[in-house]
Symmetry: C2
Subunit: 204 residues, 2 copies
């Protein structure tokens, strides 16, 4: 594709936020209720959740076609969740530096090659949360003990790429960034965007 | 893969929610602050955003390998967003019924074949929002005018699948469900999970 397709143009009026009433604030989010005006002209009370960190997701892909995954209990859904390593980047932190930090903290790994795979919006009708996903290649042990967050108790697993992808598609790893990043790596392997030996090891 | 891989097991203690203080409530979300205890034993004040609807995403894939996309202004990120058709399913509504309703309301289309492609969690450290994604096949005009939501002003585009996928991967369609669903359809086309003529039309 050369450039941006013409159908991606904007039309109509934007939302008007209007006056905002601060409702809640903690170190991760704030909530503000706006007296908004919809593109149709209709008034709408709009509760917007603003995120202080960008979500950072790292797919650690080893030369042998395996990936390292992280297991942890999550409060909101009340269950145990296997995912790719994820964390948060405050506005002042470079997202790639945050990715390197999270990978080391959660898995003890460091990567010689990094590729940005996606910048996405996670829930764009209610929150302004955005996520940046990286592929981490040429992995080795970082040396030194991991230093996880003081509320995190993490398990680790290193499994074949295809087994991880199939588990995600079967619904066993419902975190959307994990699903999207594994599918993105599959696409890269299939389209010749990864080293041939690595792609062969992944696709089996 | 036969059954659930053994590495998907849970370990360690779950989060304890503790006492909750209601902070905010509107027709779409509520916010509660819990006196939680982390798996590490550490107390943590936890602001949880609960969603009243499940997010519903529909990828309308035509027999000729094109997809129908929807354009609209979104308030939280302040920009114009091209996406696959999406909406919300209240707890009392069957998600597939909601998908059929949203597809008809937003695009005027109906589908003779539906496949559930994913059930995912969108932001699992802060919200309990979940999303269900469907592939809509054998599409035709539903007849009758669309009836969009009274705050929605929607544009439509019908474009080749590969052009939509490339626009998403280039960052022009950052909605994560749009990215994940297009990648999922690519995976199905590549793995022989779609009719051969349709897969050829998509991958062209």
């Amino acid at each position: 594709m050369n450039g941006k397709p013409v159908w991606l143009k904007a039309s109509g009026k934007p939302w008007v936020r209007g006056e905002g009433r601060p409702i809640y604030d903690n170190p991760w989010i704030s909530l503000t209720e706006y007296q908004a005006i919809a593109p149709t002209g209709r008034p709408a009370l709009y509760g917007l959740v603003s995120f202080k960190n960008a979500a950072i997701a790292v797919l650690p892909l080893h030369d042998d076609g395996t990936v390292t995954l992280v297991g942890q209990h999550r409060l909101p859904h009340g269950g145990y969740s296997w995912e790719i390593p994820e964390g948060g980047a405050p506005a002042a932190e470079d997202p790639l530096d945050a990715a390197k930090r999270e990978l080391a903290e959660e898995t003890g790994l460091e990567a010689a090659e990094w590729r940005e795979l996606m910048r996405v919006q996670l829930s764009n009708s209610i929150t302004d949360e955005r996520a940046i996903g990286y592929l981490a290649l040429e992995l080795s042990e970082a040396g030194g003990a991991h230093e996880a967050d003081e509320t995190e108790a993490l398990a680790l697993a290193r499994v074949p790429f295809r087994e991880a992808l199939e588990a995600a598609l079967a619904g066993h790893m419902p975190d959307v960034l994990t699903v999207a990043m594994l599918l993105r790596a599959y696409h890269m392997a299939r389209e010749g965007h990864l080293a041939p030996a690595l792609a062969r090891a992944m696709l089996g």
